[in-house]
Amino acid sequence: MPVNYYIFLSAALFCIGIIGVLTRRNAIIVFMCIELMLNAVNLLLVAFSKMHHLKAIAADAASNVGSEAQLFVFFIMVVAAAEVSVGLAIIVMMYRNIHSVDINFLNRLKH
């Protein structure tokens, strides 16, 4: 499978995520879109890992080139999980205070 496909796919997902971040104003949705971006990255990493693996085994069948990328993905998931816990906590706190999750509702700080 040409790696370009994966590149474009994840690029597309990534950009969709960005668009989501830019166009929605519900904090949770925005956050979800960010998660989407992360997943795009994961997909890309895995694709690359398989690509490099393919290149590597041509030289040496036993090499485990590429595993580092997959582990990186694993760590990304770990971090994402932690981030989510914190992020949701923050959103909840904010909801407690203003009963809204509208990101633009809070703009006391400006200029």
């Binding site: 474009f8 949770i28 949705i29 895995v46 694709a47």
Partner: protein, 167 residues
């Protein structure tokens, strides 16, 4: 076109539509569900690339844990009804345009790289299998593994500090 291709394209389309629906569906709950669909699609891709461990983790962690968490929060705030006030149309437009341009630029830049003829190995290749990954993880990657625990600790403390009621 073999089964792989068919699966690939199916999953791809599923992922993209899902992603788009996440962005455009009015009701947050729907967004969550669509996002889960996207995750499934991506996990499908992982499996296609024989990265079973990641596929499973992705399902468990993301689709399972994280998304459920999201769902809880949304329910808790009962945002189910579409109450999101419309954002300034121009800003929205600009956002969409900007994202589109970004994609355009990326594609334009990546269209003809030496990657064009590179292949990503599918169906076989065993680095994605759990016992290989496990070895590497606990031999070479033990340090980051430990360090990520600090991350969780801080996240936990943070959740406590912020979430704790009172004061």
């Amino acid at each position: 076109m073999g089964i792989t291709e068919i699966l690939f394209w199916f999953l791809t389309i599923l992922a993209l539509t899902g992603a788009l629906m996440v962005v455009f569906s009015k009701n947050p709950v729907h967004s969550v569900l669509w996002l889960i669909a996207v995750f499934f699609a991506i996990s499908g891709h992982y499996i296609l690339m024989n990265a079973q461990f990641l596929a499973i983790v992705n399902l468990i962690v993301y689709a399972g844990a994280i998304m459920v968490l999201f769902l809880f929060v949304i329910m808790l705030m009962n945002l189910t009804t579409d109450t999101e006030p419309q954002k300034n149309r121009w800003l929205k437009m600009a956002g969409a345009v900007a994202g589109g341009c970004l994609l355009l630029v990326l594609v334009a830049a990546l269209r003809d790289t030496d990657m064009k003829y590179q292949l990503a190995q599918v169906k076989e290749g065993n680095i994605g299998l759990i016992h290989y990954l496990g070895k590497t993880l606990f031999n070479d990657y033990v340090l980051p593994f430990e360090i990520s625990s600090v991350l969780f600790l801080s996240a936990m403390v943070g959740a406590v500090v912020i979430g704790k009621k009172g004061d």
